[in-house]
Amino acid sequence: MASPPFSSCSVKDAKVLMVGAGGIGCELLKTLALSGFPDIHIIDMDTIEVSNLNRQFLFRQSHVGQSKAKVARDAVLKFRPHINITPYHANVKDPEFNVDFFKQFNVVLNGLDNLDARRHVNRLCLAANVPLVESGTTGFLGQVTVHVKGRTECYECQPKPAPKTYPVCTITSTPSKFVHCVVWAKDLLFAKLFGDKNQENDLNVRSSDGASSSENVEDVFERRKDEDIDQYGRKIFDHVFGYNIELALSNEETWKNRHRPKPIYSKDVLSDELAQQNGNLEKNNVCDDELSVSAMASLGMKNPQDIWSIRENSRIFLEALRLFFTKREKEIGNLGFDKDDQLAVEFVTSAANIRAASFGIPLHSLFEAKGIAGNIVHAVATTNAVIAGLIVIEAIKVLQNDIKNYRMTYCLEHPSRNMLLMPVEPFEPNKSCYVCSETPLSLEINTNRSKLKDFVEKIVKAKLGMNLPLIMCASNLLYEAGDVEDDMIAIYEANLEKVLAELPSPVTGGTMLTVEDMQQEFVCNINIKHREEFDEEKEPDGMVLSGWTQPVSAAENKDKSVGNGASPSDALVTAVESEKNDEITVVSTLKKRKLPEETDISCADAEAKHQKQLEVIDDEDDLVMLDGDLDSFKKRKLS
């Protein structure tokens, strides 16, 4: 018999949906089952990997490769055989998980690893009017938030930190941090050598007047028929680490206030021994499994935490390149970087390090470079367990409709006001949120140059996170994704290739477009503003979406110094517990929501400018609450 506020009756009839059976998901499913939840549905598209096993405790070595949702179900039924668990080995964005599907649940619990899916679930929960408990962890940090339509802010009421991007010229010409070198090695050099040849690639240094290097440069990367692989490798090496740096140096303007890079040629770091050595390596590569081909193994280097010398990096670089062309030739032209591809990681690590050496940037180990290149999010079991416990506590309050006691809770690494777990009142909905209110957005775009296709890719999908969009201008349908009648397909295809101003129903300055996602049951209006020019570096999309009116801020607090405790490592991140997250990196944006009583907490689920008063539940209220007089729990009212 439990005491009233956590009585089991609300749980006994509950039907809940869990999205994600990963780090948080395993813990959550266990805690839900122990807490008496009788009917749990769980969606996860992933299969189990070795690096999951240190924290996703429902999985074993023998389960590697199997569906997370299904294995998690079986594992939990072993200690709670009489509950219903329905697993879906599927993507939550699949059309079967529509609004009607969501409507059958009392509450939805997210243990997701990417922004895209979180936004999708947020919209479905809003459309189905089902409360959502959202969560995230990274390392020792974590957070749980509650989203109830019309009562608290939705997941998208505050703009999320954008994926970290770097100006093209920083990557191509003026790197100052190791991460710039990794991005160059991965997104430019690796892609150029092993990826799709038709993709645009900024690898070659651009001089300040914008002119690209001469035409014949293309030939450098193309391996000539019968060209000796070692010679080819050295040619690439000398071109990208030597010649290109010389070329960049010739532009004096760039280096006026910068450290000048030094060109590195293979003959300077490697003597001729290499050619002979490589000849003897064949016998070491007996294994044919492509992912086990390794330049480290063939060079007898073992420790992924060692920082290699420039010479070692150069040897790895040439050996990795040689192995790609000799052992994995078939894949060349279609390779994308994958953090689980050992040879790719070796190549990127060595290339990033050689470039770093050129620019006087400290070198890093393969272990570190892999973390940066693969956007690997740090994860431990304990934080996931704590967060899962907090999710269940919020879920029970939601089932009891105990609105006054909903909390968002931060799990901190360093205590703030003596708290490791800090509950705060949820925010009210943002009245200008384009998702949960009907506020229109506005888009600046060159309507004479941008095609409908650009608008769909760069705005509707990338920015608005729509899955199956439909675009209307007045009452004319311009485009629809998904199941469409045959005769319309051709029309939509043709529309995609047209510039906005020349569409059957022209889109020009002043036009209002309606964009809708049928699956998410989410509509938003976009006011179009024509603009002629865009800054290539700052506005690479060639269009600018705006409309998140910043909430009225308690801006006076902004410049006050941080009172106590909160250190940068307390910065929480939104996205997280991630394996496959190729989009969001650890976004330790340091923004502060101001707490009363001179306490700061840094948290990351809102933009820096977003500042609101957070109310920490005060000690003095304990008595009141325990006496059951919940109404006098003086708090900012939820609308």
């Binding site: 018999m1 439990a2 005491s3 506020p5 956590f6 266990k30 805690t31 089952a33 122990l34 807490s35 070795v50 690096s51 096993l53 240190n54 924290r55 405790f57 074993r60 070595q61 939990v76 072993k78 200690f79 055989p81 086990s292 193994a297 073992k302 420790n303 992924p304 935490q305 060692d306 973390g371 690997i376 740090h378 994860a379 431990v380 079991a381 304990t382 934080t383 996931n384 367990a385 704590v386 899962a388 416990g389 907090l390 506590i393 799990c411 360093h414 205590p415 003596n418 708290m419 490791l420 777990l421 800090m422 509950p423 539940i617 209220d621 008595l623 609450m625 325990l626 006496d627 059951g628």
Partner: protein, 330 residues
Amino acid sequence: MSWNRLRLGMDGDGEELTAQETALYDRQIRVWGADAQRRLSKAHVLVYGMKGTVAEFCKNIVLAGVGSLTLVDDRVATEEALSSNFLIPPVESVYGGKTLAELCCNSLKDFNPMVRVSVEKGDLSNFGVEFFSKFDVVVVSCCSLSAKKLANDKCRKLSKRVAFYAVECRDSCGEVFVDLQDYKYSKKKQEETIGCDLKYPSFEDALSVPWRTLHKRMSKLYFAMRVIEKFEEAEGRSAGEVSIADLSAVLKLKKDLCIAQSLSESHVPDALLERLVTNATEFPPVCAVIGGILGQEVIKAISGKGDPLKNFFFFDAFDGKGIIEDISAK
């Protein structure tokens, strides 16, 4: 995938992490580093009292990759004991006749083949100092106040430092006590490395700090837990052996203690005591929270990474706060 032995770097005694460990622990090595992982793999942990919170804790440190985990709990499994323990299948043919420690051991072994999990039999108070010397970390739960104090004292008699933790969950509340004795560690602040030195009191010394000397906003849970603990001790009961029938006696004891300690009774709300005696069984979400925090603290103490908490932690699902209190003589 072939597990050829890749080294992750060596330390003084030449111990190394295998490629298998590196692959398994990749995500957490990114949090606390290879050195800490190596220290974890050499640590020996003793756990006494296998309820839900301790089961959660055991899962966490087995996953983290400690060297060994020794479980002690001779009680025979009953349906009640299983209520918040996911390590035991609730099938009589499986749990019948076996002790809680044996059952939990079987499940925990599966979680991580690289951790040695074993069972010892016996009563906490009967283990000698010698016994405790085999461990680096001792966690006790579900036993009397005097048994906890005694075990803590035995750990303190040893020349090597044995980290001691007492943990208890009742209703939707939980408490962790930490004794790291004299704990020195270093931490990085910007570029500098700062040496830190924390002096912990024993359980006995912490509990004997006069209540009126504690700060005004001291967690009410601290006082409430002491009242119930005292009650159980006076009645000769084990932790958790209380019910609503004891409420009036518990409230009377609270009054007496508050008078004796010159503390206003408002610091120990009757409603809180009522919750704690009415429902002594654990609330699974709180087990997860407390077991997670305890796991994190033990990992900190073993690895020497991070600021350990000193010396009490309280969590109450009612207000959702997880609070650290330092209760030591001035």
